[in-house]
Each structure stands twice: as C-alpha cells, then as structure tokens.
Amino acid sequence: MKTLLRWTLMAAAVALLAWGCSKEKPETDPSPKTAEQPADSTLNLDALIADTLSADSLARLEAERLEAERARLEEMINRIMLEDVYFDYDRSDLTENAKRLLAQVAEILVNENRFMVTVEGHTDARGTEDYNISLGARRSTVVRDFLIAYGVDGNRLASVSYGKERPKVQGADEAAYSKNRRAHFRVSIVGVEP
C-alpha cells in the first residue's frame, strides 16, 4: 500500500516535472508577458511540490548510489572470500602462490579501509583436534602478519583458528586434504554486523 502511494506520488512528480519543463521553454521566447500569467498561477503548486520532488529524487539517487557502492563492495568481498590461501602439510609458512594471492588481497584492503577481516586458519583432517587448533592458529597468524607487513592496519585484522572442524571439502585423500589446509577470509564492513 505504502509503495503504491510512493509510486503514485513519484509518477505525479515526474508528470509535473515534465509539465514544468515544457512550461519553461516558452519562457525563453520573446513574449514573456503572456507566459507570466500561467506561470504565476502554477507557482504555488510548484513551490508546494518542490520539496517533495527534490527530497524524493535525492533519496532515489542516494539509494541508487548506495546500491552501486554496495554491489562494488560485495564484489570485492566476494573476491577476497572466494580465494583461500593454501598450505603444505603440517606447515604454516607461505608458498609463492600464497604470497601472490595475499598481495592482491592486501591491495584491496589498503584501498578500502572500511573492511574488517577475520583470517580463519584451517587444517586437514589428519591429527588431533587439539594440535590442529594450534596449527590453524599459526596459519591464520602468518597470513595476518603478511597483510600487516603489506600496510594493512592491524586493528582491522583478526585471526582465529578452526583447527580441523570446518573442512571445505569432505574426503580422506590428498585432493580433499590439500583444499582443507587453508586460510580463509571473512569480511565485514565497519559498523555492520556480519
């Protein structure tokens, strides 16, 4: 019901705007006096709707702008969250591939300072729960340290270990293990709860 009303108001506003524009054209022609009379009569009406008009279109523009911004951020977040940093078995040092990927992520984070990032450290299924939490912690910290060294503000970076609790791929072979030995990024925007 409310939206219907809004649409009706908007339609009316657009119609009036169009009418106002068409009114303005004759004003440019050399007979201003004749044009003054009808303009005068619509002046009150114009003034009346002017507030609604500008506020409404501004809101629309703002919404449009936010939407575009949101889509842009979302795309960036997706890019960060889609890529995981992979590790070798029982290791927490960064491979060359990992460093290349992290440099890209760091680039985004340096330029977009509203992002808060949690680096999750994960392990494959081999070994005990306890040891794997400590291994995951080492992995998440190595990644966080790399990003800080690149210039990302450490206050925007948290690290957490999930050990072997959240495998990305199920399975008990190297294909699954290698996908699960990873650091994963969780991104939120400052002031917005994830």
Partner: protein, 437 residues
C-alpha cells in the same frame, strides 16, 4: 631406542598374526556373529586374567516390559565390558556348566512389578558350589532407572570380589554430530541413556568432567572462535577465562578441580592454569615452543603435555610447578594427547604414522611401547576409565567415527555408540557413593 622399535615391531607382527587367526575364526562362524554389535577383533596382547561369572535371568513376578534390556542382559554386558569378568550366561542355575567354565560365583535376582508402576529388583551374588549368598541388594525404581540400579549392583559385586571400585555406574561425555553440528553429549559408560547437553548452532567440543562430576568444561565456537565454557547439569552455563581470545584443550585437576588449558595468542599456543570459580589464571609453562593437550597425573603431582619444541609434536612431562620438563615419546613424528593412567603406571597417547592415527601406551619413562590398535582405520582420543582397566576411544574403523571401549591391553574392543558421527569420549570420575543412592 632401537630396542623400543623392535618391541613395537614384534607387537605389530603378533597383532597381525592374531588378526589373521581372528579372521579365520570369523570366516568359519560368520553367521553366528552377524547380530552381535561387539567387534570381535582383538589387537594387542591380552594380559588380562578375567574371572568367569555365571549370569542367570531374574525371576519375574508380573509381566515386565523392560525399557532397554532385562537385568541379566545388563549384567552380562557389564561383566564383559569390565575387563575383570567373563560372563557365563545360563538360562537357569547350572552347576555343571558353571564348574566347567570355572565360574565360582553367579548373579541373579527377582523382579517384581509394583502397582505404582515401579519395579522392585532384588539382586543376588551367590557362590556357585555352596549356593551361599555373598551379596544381596534391593532397589525399587522407575522402569527407566532399571539400568542404573543394575549397574550399581554390579559395582557392588566388583567391590565384593575384588575390593576395588567398578566403573559400571560411571558415565562418558563425548561429541555427537547432530544435524551436521557437533554437540556435547553424556551417556552411561556403556553408551545407553544418551543425553544432549549443548544445543547450539555452532560447534561444541572437547568436553571434560568437572571434579565431582558436577558438570562439564567444553569448547564452544559460538563467538566464532574456540572458547572454554563451564556447564552444570542443572543447565547453568558460564564462559571461562574470557581474558583470552582463544582457549581450548581443558584438563581438570583430579585433586583440586583446577583447570589447565591451552591459550592461543597470535601464532603461539601455551598452557595456562586457572581457577574455575574465581576466573583467575596464570601461565603454567614458560617455553618457547607451542604446547597443547595438558593432562594431570592421578595425584596431580605431574603434568603431561604435547610440544612441538623438537620440530614435531611429542609428549613431554613436567612437574606441577612447571619445572623439570622431560621428553617422553621419541618414536615417530606425531605423538599427541597423552593421558596418565589412574593406576599411575602407564601413559596412553595417539600416534600418527602415514596419516593414520593409532593408540599406544608406554611406561612413564617412554619405554615399553605397546600398540593397542592397528589395521582398523583411525583410532584416537583415548580416555582412561577411572579404575584404569579400560580405555574409551573414537575410531572410524566401521566407516564413520564411533566410540569404542577396550581393555587397557587393547583386547575386548566393543562399540558403544551408533548412528551419526560420535567422537572425543571423556570418562567421568567415580560417582560419589552417597549420591549414587
């Protein structure tokens, strides 16, 4: 070192030979075993001298519908799980059978259905030859509490015949995957009377029993990181040691109830000690290495833990004041989660070789290594029964992870859970006698 290695090799060889025999035996009598959920694969060399004990069904007055099993079935299971007895079941008193099987005592009783719906159980332990009454106990319970009463009687039988406390009335805490989420559960030691303790939308894990079995300490990911919580069985839940971001690997001091646990700050994981009630804590070990999985000795004078100070996770021991660190395990590249036998003489731990985890025990100085599990998937998270006779552990030998109980020598492996994945068993302490009543 070479010596240890040879010992283990021989153990493994013997295990393999034993297994071969078991498989041959299974092949011969396979259909007979089909309905039994006990895994008839023994590994390790049995050092147990079990005492045969006759079990005769109870006389029933009034038609009784047992909620799980009849009392004699519960007693048979208790006897065979105990690591002390071997049940000799018989439909009635049979002196010939009992003599032949060397069962010098037998248990039986009467069960009466009372008008108020309760069941009266009169349980007896007799000497087989003389029919002398050695022990008599009477319980009047709701049908649901029959198991508890029979377990309680069985523990009295153990005490009467061995002068030691049995574990039939103890419980296990463990982790069950329910709708894909790990939740903390408790059950009787034999897997019956399951009860779900946590109902979170995030992971709950690593449950251990508080002193006096008043509640559990466990790890929850509800804040999207591992944190310790305490929960009483009344349902009261408290976050613990919130001054640290990531806490896990809890271990309860059997004497004081104090907690040892792992704290992760940045890349480093270290062991802290803390008081559950006051929330105060301090660093326990001042080492450069990472440390996880602390475990107290039975009289809380020593602590076992895992450290990667040698480049791979290995088990170390240290005094309760945090000094005098010494290495226990040397064989292999991954020895973790050690725990000290309640009898004080052995250490059980998980070792990983070629990606497979198995359970081993060794003497307190790391010598005399015995492999308890082999050729049966992954076997991990060993936990001693409070009498030190049994070890509960998790294994994926049957396809998915389930909880098993075995004797401390690796024999008598019995699965006690089924269904969706069950892991991380931790045995309770003995229950207070007065409370048991």
């Amino acid at each position: 070192m070479t010596n240890n290695y040879t010992v283990v090799q021989i153990e493994v060889m013997m295990n393999k030979i034993k297994l071969l025999f078991v498989f041959m035996a299974m092949a011969l009598v396979a259909p007979a075993f089909a309905a039994i959920d006990t895994i008839a694969v023994d590994v390790g060399i049995s050092v147990f001298q079990t005492m045969p004990i006759g079990v005769v069904p109870f006389e029933e007055e009034g038609k009784i519908k047992w909620t799980t099993e009849a009392p004699h079935q519960i007693l048979t299971r208790d006897a065979n799980l105990s690591g002390r007895f071997e049940a000799v079941p018989s439909e009635q008193f049979d002196l010939v059978l009992f003599s032949k099987k060397r069962a010098r005592q037998y248990v039986t009783g009467t069960a009466t259905k009372l008008p108020n719906g309760k069941i009266k159980l009169d349980c007896y332990l007799y000497a087989a030859e003389t029919k002398d009454l050695l022990l008599g106990e009477s319980y009047t319970v709701k049908p649901y509490d029959v198991r508890q009463a029979v377990h309680s009687f069985f523990d009295k039988v153990v005490y009467r015949l061995f002068g030691e406390r049995g574990v039939a009335s103890t419980k296990l805490a463990y982790v069950s995957k329910i709708d894909g989420i790990k939740q903390v559960m408790i059950s009787d030691y034999d897997g019956f009377s399951r009860r779900q303790i946590t109902r979170d939308s995030s992971i709950s894990m690593m449950p251990v029993w508080q002193k006096g079995n008043k509640g559990l300490v466990y790890v929850s990911f509800r804040k999207q990181r591992p944190n310790l919580y305490s929960i009483t069985f009344g349902g009261k839940e408290t976050p613990l040691f919130t001054q640290y971001k990531q806490t896990f690997s809890p271990a309860v001091n059997p004497k004081t109830g104090e907690l040892l646990f792992s704290v992760t700050e940045g890349a480093k994981t270290e062991i802290y000690r803390g008081d559950l009630k006051t929330g105060t804590s301090q660093k326990f070990l001042h080492l450069k290495s990472n440390q996880v999985s602390p475990s107290w000795s039975p009289f809380a004078s020593e602590v076992l833990f895992t450290s990667d100070r040698g480049g791979s996770p290995q088990v170390y021991a240290v005094g309760k004041d945090g000094t005098d660190v010494r290495r226990i395990t040397f064989m292999g590249h991954y020895n973790e989660r050690a725990s000290w036998s309640p009898e004080g003489d052995r250490i059980v731990y998980t070792s990983m070789d070629d990606g497979k985890m198995n359970i081993y025990t060794c003497a307190l100085d790391g010598t005399d290594i015995v492999q308890l599990t082999s050729n049966a998937g992954n076997n991990e998270h060993p936990s001693w029964s409070p009498d030190g006779k049994l070890i509960a552990f998790a294994s994926d030998r049957g396809g998915n992870y389930q909880i098993y109980i075995m004797r401390k020598d690796g024999s008598g492996v019995t699965r006690i859970t089924n269904g969706s994945e069950n892991t991380s068993p931790t045995w309770s302490w003995f229950f207070d006698e007065k409370k048991a009543k």
